[in-house]
């Protein structure tokens, strides 16, 4: 099935098997019904714990499309699945599923409005919750303690099909390592929708080497790591930053392993965890070749305490954020016994002026260089080592930040220019 949705001048058009449809909301549901002809829907009858249900709903709710023209996308799929209860949501770009344990009396599936179900479950006492579907009118009956609620649903047949991955040739990732990788690059993506490629994170895998990179045109964050098991063949994909952030949120360290699959020809990536799954469409396009712009040699090398530097940036940002976000670093090498110093200052016509002096280990000539303070703060936030290294050449060439004694994570920022 090949569907493409085209934004025309003022109406959305759907192209399906070469035919153009204008009113695509209704068409889409027809197509879905044709592909999956309704059988007699079996009923659902399960008992789950309120806490687990609330937690599961909070995970998958992030993929709900509340304002979609396809009403079923505002719903969450509740289905029995091999002895567990599956909760799923998708906005067709990003889909999240999670499984919770429960006592299954009758097998079946139903979709119900995400807001209604989540809001309700959040107010229920910490008691077993009985979910029971009346298949005649597609109403889900929710009972907990003394409360009884009927929620009107939409037939699960209308829900977009959920891909069943073949995990056999998936790539195995260690959860805590992978979460750290995501965290260290994802903030550097662009927020501007004009260049979709920059809203994604490039992931390249070659043998046992994995590299993730993100850039918004002013800075680039690159994180490398090694895999336990090599990939079958090298590949490079661009994953939407949003999907990775969600993944980092749902992957709990207890999951230990993530299995990643990119089913060929589908333009999708799927991450499988023990109790959850996330599917995202990939971004097509060419990622900017960032290798060329990472300088290889530097004149000045400055070592600072990560925590101190971060705190100074936070302070400077209070002054700078209403102006141009600019912070000046005056890097001064040690002279005759006096240790090296970095003077961090910010000034804004609206707010005022601030200056902080930090002790530093400076090798090489002194330099006055200016950066967007938000860029500095964001990268320092994800630096794990107690000290960081800032390497620079001149006030108009990129600066490089690294954790001390560690080459796996590098971050390059273009300085600002005082006109």
């Amino acid at each position: 099935m090949r569907l493409s949705i085209v934004n025309s001048l003022d109406s959305k058009i759907l192209i399906f098997q070469g035919v153009i449809y204008f009113n695509f909301e209704s068409i889409l549901s027809i197509i879905i019904r044709q592909q999956f002809p309704p059988e007699r829907s079996p009923t659902v009858k399960v008992t789950v714990s309120q806490q687990q249900l609330a937690h599961g709903l909070s995970l998958v709710s992030r993929a709900v499309a509340p304002r979609s023209t396809l009403p079923v996308l505002a719903n969450i799929l509740v289905a029995t699945d091999e002895g567990r209860v599956r909760l799923s949501a998708t906005n067709l770009e990003l889909g999240i599923s999670c499984w919770i344990g429960g006592q299954i009396a009758e097998e079946g599936a139903i979709t119900v409005p995400a807001r209604t179900l989540s809001d309700l479950v959040n107010t229920l006492p910490n008691d077993p919750v009985l979910l029971e579907l009346n298949p005649k009118n597609q109403v889900l009956n929710v009972r907990c303690g003394t409360s009884i609620t009927d929620i009107k649903g939409i037939d699960a047949q209308e829900y977009p099909p959920i891909p069943v991955p073949d995990l056999a040739d998936g790539l195995e990732l260690n959860v805590s390592d992978f979460k750290e990788m995501i965290q260290q690059v994802v903030f550097a993506v662009s927020t501007d929708e004009a260049r979709p490629v920059l809203q994604g994170v490039q992931m390249s895998v070659n043998g046992t080497f994995i590299t993730m990179a993100a850039t918004d045109g002013y800075r680039v964050s690159v994180r490398k790591a090694e895999l336990e098991h090599p990939a079958a063949s090298p590949f490079s994909i661009i994953i939407p930053a949003r999907a990775l952030s969600e993944l980092a949120r749902i992957a709990s360290d207890g999951d230990q392993k993530i299995v990643m699959v990119t089913p060929p020809g589908r333009g999708q990536v799927l991450f499988h965890l023990r109790d959850a799954e996330l599917v995202s469409s990939l971004i097509e396009g060419n990622f900017p070749p960032y290798d060329k712009i990472i300088p290889t040699s530097f004149k000045t090398k400055t070592i600072l305490s990560t925590a101190e530097f971060l705190k100074s940036c936070r302070q400077a940002e209070i002054i700078a954020r209403d102006g141009n976000n600019i912070v000046r670093l005056d890097i001064q090498p040690a002279v005759e016994g006096a240790p090296g110093v970095v003077e961090i200052s910010a000034q804004s016509e609206e707010t005022g002026f601030s200056e902080i002096k930090l002790a530093a280990n400076v090798e090489g000539p002194g330099l006055l260089i200016a950066f967007n303070v938000r860029f500095l703060r964001e990268v320092l936030d994800v630096m794990k080592s107690p000290n960081i290294v800032l390497q620079t050449n001149a006030n108009n060439t990129p600066g490089l930040l690294q954790q001390t004694g560690d080459d796996s994570f590098i971050h390059v920022i273009m300085p600002m220019h005082l006109g």
């Binding site: 002013y218 220019h417 006109g419």
Partner: protein
């Protein structure tokens, strides 16, 4: 039925259907002929919405006796000699089709005399059949009398709308031509009543008043634009004057009324960000461009044209209109005394006293001119336009209080004001921030330059303004062809896409605005929103209400919020009196 060649009469009727489909199209063709003949005075009569009679008389060159019967023959024209002329048409007519078409679907009488002839000539054509040419005494000029229009084509007659609609069409057509040709004296009589009479003195605003009414005509802003090759003149509505449809956008291209959705779009674009969603301007624009720049031979009724360089035309329209709108809003402050009479001015009373001025004043000293025709009234007002434009600034207001925890109520010399507290506070904060904004130029260079490919006219305007742009914090260089490389952006915009920002700035340049002004305003406007502009539903202390009112009075454009929505509704004394039936409408 076997295949056969249509009789001439049927064939002409079919062709006529393309040129004349309703009374207004007959009037249009006849008017255009009179204008082509250099008339300075044109009189139009219609009866029964033109179905019974349409008569157009002019004092133009006339038609020599020997050519009269040719004039009503298809493809006979005095206006084109060769095919090459088609590409540089300077007259309104060029096909030699109009008279023949009209004559084939009516009973037409052509009476005419040229300056060199002693006697005039008359020819009657009935449903396409020409009679004999008569000679008679007649003044110089031409009269075409069209009777029983479409009586021999009942199908077409059936397609006509109600009489009221058809008459309305004729009126609006004649008025628009009168507007375009303000130096020609037009008279339109409908069933014996004069519905339009223009002086021919060249004052367009006077004609505008008969099209839109005195009030609207007075408020319309003047558009003037001349880049050496293109000129645009006309009127466009200020922000406070809008319609809910695009029907009131009139364009004349080289003296020809055309309907073009792309021109409409360019016009609407000129107001982007200034009008509320779903509101459209009123405009009448006269565009002159070299005849070879426009192809008029694309539509059977000549209602559409094609431009050689449409981008340039659209951008000229946008620039011209934007400039007019910007020049008047915020409208330069007019001291309240000047508007509202003498008492306050003479005694220098305090604001609350001034606001308590007798409301009578607003209308008693207002528009005079009993016994004069509406048009001369308009002319009189037109003369005083610059003074009486609606003031951008507010008169001094006396606070009455807050209602619904959302609106402030205030009284001014000219009536009641309802003020939206959120929108008003947004405006106040917006102007404060615009003032405080940092003027320091800081550049954020890119890791890798971004190459942007432009259209050639954009490339030209960008190349001219590179220095100016680079002094604002850009670093843009020419890259050959029409490509440019962006190496750095002004730091404030570093979260925008470089290409999108550059294109936006080029638009500013093309619209003759100071580059980045719109972008800066938009950014500050969105900050104002996020910041604590007081929300609707918040109860305010009296001191706070008063402070907001005073701050608003100090604003340059107090009447709209930074997003273009109104901050206030004004209920004028006039309106109140009319609503309460204290006085008939003026």
């Amino acid at each position: 039925m076997p295949i056969h060649i249509l009789s001439d009469a049927v064939a002409s009727q079919i062709a006529a259907g393309e040129v004349v489909e309703r009374p207004a199209s007959v009037v249009k063709e006849l008017l255009e002929n009179s204008l082509d003949a250099g008339a300075s005075k044109i009189t139009i009569l219609i009866q029964q919405a033109g179905k019974q009679l349409i008569e157009v008389s002019d004092n133009g060159t006339g038609i020599p006796a020997g050519e009269v019967s040719l004039a009503v023959t298809r493809h006979a024209t005095s206006k084109l000699a060769s095919a090459a002329d088609l590409f540089a048409i300077r007259t309104l007519g060029f096909r030699g089709e109009a008279l023949a078409s009209i004559a084939s679907v009516s009973r037409s009488t052509l009476t005419t005399r040229t300056q060199t002839e002693e006697t005039g000539s008359r020819l009657v054509v009935d449903g396409g059949d020409g009679g004999r040419l008569e000679h008679l005494a007649y003044p110089i000029g031409t009269t075409v009398r069209v009777e029983n229009l479409f009586s021999n084509v009942p199908a077409r007659l059936k397609f006509l709308k109600t009489d009221a609609t058809e008459r309305q069409q004729v009126h609006s057509l004649v008025t628009r031509y009168a507007l375009a040709y303000a130096r020609v004296q037009f008279t339109l009589m409908d069933d014996g009543k004069t519905v339009l009479q223009t002086s021919g003195r060249g004052d367009r605003r006077e004609v505008l008043a008969s099209l839109y009414g005195v009030d609207t005509a007075r408020q319309m802003l003047e558009v003037v634009f001349d880049d050496g090759e293109f000129t645009i003149e006309g009127f466009t509505s200020p922000l406070a004057l809008t319609r809910s449809n695009r029907r009131e956008m009139t364009f004349f291209i080289n003296g020809r009324w055309v309907q073009d959705t792309a021109l409409n779009a360019a016009l609407v674009q000129a107001y982007s960000g200034l009008l509320m969603v779903g509101r459209f301007p009123i405009s009448v624009l006269f565009i002159q461009l070299p005849p070879e720049e426009v192809d008029v031979n694309v539509h059977p009724a000549k209602a559409e044209v094609r431009f050689c360089n449409s981008d340039r035309v659209f951008s000229a329209v946008q620039r011209a209109v934007r400039r007019a709108v910007m020049a008047y809003s915020p409208i330069p402050a007019i001291p309240p005394q000047k508007l509202w009479g003498t008492a306050a001015a003479q005694t220098g009373v305090t604001s609350s006293q001034a606001a308590g001025l007798d409301w009578q004043f607003a209308h008693e000293g207002g528009i005079s001119g009993e016994g004069q025709s509406p048009i001369s009234q308009a002319a009189q007002q037109a003369a005083s336009i610059p003074d009486s434009l609606p003031a951008g600034s507010l008169p001094l207001l006396r606070l009455i209080g807050q209602i619904g925890a959302t609106y402030l109520v205030a009284e001014g010399p000219d009536g009641l004001y309802l003020i939206d507290q959120h929108a008003a506070h947004e405006r106040v904060l917006f102007e404060k921030l615009m003032e405080q904004r940092s003027t320091e130029v800081i550049m954020q260079p890119l890791l890798q330059p971004v190459t942007v490919q432009l259209a050639s006219h954009q490339a030209a305007s960008l190349a001219d303004s590179l220095d100016a742009l680079n002094s604002l914090g850009f670093l843009v260089e020419e890259f050959g062809g029409n490509a440019f490389r962006v190496r750095a952006l002004p730091a404030v915009f570093s979260s925008s896409d470089p290409e999108t920002l550059l294109r936006a700035v080029i638009e500013d340049i093309e619209e003759d605005e100071s580059p980045m002004q719109t972008e800066i305003e938009a950014r500050i406007a969105s900050r104002v929103c996020k910041r604590a502009a007081i929300k609707g539903g918040t109860v305010m202390a009296q001191e706070e209400q008063l402070a907001l009112l005073r701050d608003l009075e100090k604003c340059q454009s107090p009447r709209t919020c930074p997003h273009g929505r109104p901050t206030m509704i004004h209920l004028s004394v006039d309106l109140l009196e009319r609503q309460f039936g204290r006085r008939g409408s003026r």
